[in-house]
């Protein structure tokens, strides 16, 4: 793809990703409500929430909080831009992780009991999903012949038939990133409260809005990574089905499970998640996949 197209797609990604993210959150709440026998809010409710938050009077419990709230959003947007520019997948992930780290560091920078707890639990959550995401880049690179996302397009073949084991592991990582039960251990969405609001307890008003928008970008980026598994070929529209399908599976899992402990989360993520991806890498190296 020519540079002009790439830059154009990056600009579109930055503008459209939060809109899609917010809409998905809204549909999430609607579907969850219906699964629970309720009606639920309108699907554009997250946008109302964010606009209302932006209009609140700012309230800060520590100067570093501001810096990290802005940095969280800015870095995740950077990761989205690099993804749209089809850069090296590992680099995209590292920038994403830097952004994700800003949230717990900002929470830890406030001397508040709930914020401290939430920040530490967020770090443990990070410890659970980060290795899975990083390791999942390896089989993708082995198949596509390189880490740049552009290689996946050049490879020309869908990845899912050979990498479905990795895909399952990525679903585990997606559940943790989206903070869905049973992994909603550190400050999750509205209906899930743990230790007041966990990692986002001390963020309020406009800064909470920034974090919310950052979460939308993060979710869209993760779903796009999942969509990479069938983004080429004549059935390229399957990538959207795969991404949305994974998202829907997360909703169902959220509604049928309950929150578990952080030590279980670590053991499960490292046990099941890492083992699955490692098996996939092993099979590719042995030539079986």
């Amino acid at each position: 793809m020519s540079t002009g197209w790439l830059i154009g797609s990056a600009v579109i990604a930055v503008i459209v990703a939060p809109l899609i993210g917010g809409l998905l959150r809204g549909i999430d709440r609607k579907l969850t409500a219906h699964m629970q026998g309720r009606i639920g809010p309108p699907i554009i409710q997250p946008f109302y929430d964010v606009i209302k938050l932006l209009g609140k009077k700012p309230m800060v419990a520590g100067g570093a909080q501001l810096v990290f709230a802005y940095a969280f959003l800015a870095l995740i947007i950077t990761a989205v831009v690099f993804f749209a520019l089809r850069q090296d997948l590992l680099v995209v992930l590292f920038i994403l992780f830097f952004g994700s780290l800003c949230l717990p560091i900002g929470a830890l920078s406030v001397k508040s009991p709930y914020s401290q707890f939430g920040g530490h639990r967020e770090l443990l959550q990070f410890l659970a999903y980060e290795p899975i995401l990083l390791l999942a880049a390896i089989p993708i690179a082995l198949k596509a012949g390189g880490f740049p996302i552009a290689n996946i397009f050049e490879y020309g073949q869908p990845l899912l038939p050979n990498l479905w084991i990795t895909f399952i592991a990525l679903l585990i990582a997606l559940a943790i990133v989206m903070r869905k039960s049973p992994f909603d251990i550190s400050g999750s969405e509205h209906a899930h409260q743990e230790l007041v609001r966990g990692v986002i307890t001390e963020y309020s008003g406009p800064y909470l809005a920034l974090i919310e928008i950052g979460h939308w970008y993060e979710m869209v980026l993760l779903l796009s990574i999942l969509g990479l598994f069938w983004v080429v070929g004549s059935l390229w529209w399957l990538s959207i089905i795969i991404a949305l399908g994974s998202w829907f599976i997360m909703l169902i899992v959220d509604n049928i499970t309950t929150r578990l402990t952080w030590s279980w989360m670590l053991k499960f993520a490292w046990g099941a998640g890492i083992t699955l991806v490692a098996l996939n890498i092993l099979f590719i190296n042995l030539g079986w996949m």
Binding site: R29, A33, Q36, G37, R38, I39, G40, P41, P42, Q45, F47, Y48, D49, I51, K52, L54, G55, K56, K57, P58, M59, H190, A191, Q193, V196, R197, T201, E202, Y203, S204, G205, L208
Partner: protein, 142 residues
């Protein structure tokens, strides 16, 4: 601006504080969150955190011990905010009016926007009260 006041009206987040009530009104408030009344369809979410809340829902009378906590929570809510008092005890002191440790209704401690009488107040009345409070939020800044 139009969109900001619309957003404020469409997304009121609650903080629910029991200030010495018998829990009767609290049960009715929590009932409003259940699928039967489902106030989430109006965008209302029960946040546990004053820093995230727009509307403070208080039950029970103010007394010498808890007025400080109430004041503290009210101060930790960012503007624009509204206060709804649910139940007769919060409005005037109710059956506990004139007791030695009771200061009276909640309005002795913080400014109240909407009073919901009743013992216990009905969920429909609580929902009506929140809608009234939304008007105040919408008019903030004008």
């Amino acid at each position: 601006m139009g969109i900001l006041s619309t957003a404020r009206m469409k997304s009121p987040w609650l903080l629910h504080f029991d200030c010495g009530s018998c829990n009767g009104c609290d049960i009715e408030i929590l009932a409003a969150l259940t699928p039967l009344y489902d106030i989430e369809r109006f965008g209302i979410v029960n946040m546990g955190n004053p820093k995230h809340a727009d509307v403070l829902l208080v039950t029970g009378p103010a007394n010498h011990r808890n007025y400080r906590v109430l004041r503290n929570l009210y101060d930790q809510m960012p503007d624009p905010k509204g206060v709804i008092v649910v139940g007769t005890c919060g409005c005037t002191g109710g059956v506990f009016h004139n007791c030695p440790n009771v200061l009276g209704g909640i309005d002795k401690v913080i400014p109240v926007d909407v009073y919901v009488p009743g013992c216990a107040a009905r969920p429909e009345a609580i929902i009506d009260a929140v809608v009234l409070a939304l008007g105040k939020l919408k008019a903030y800044g004008k």
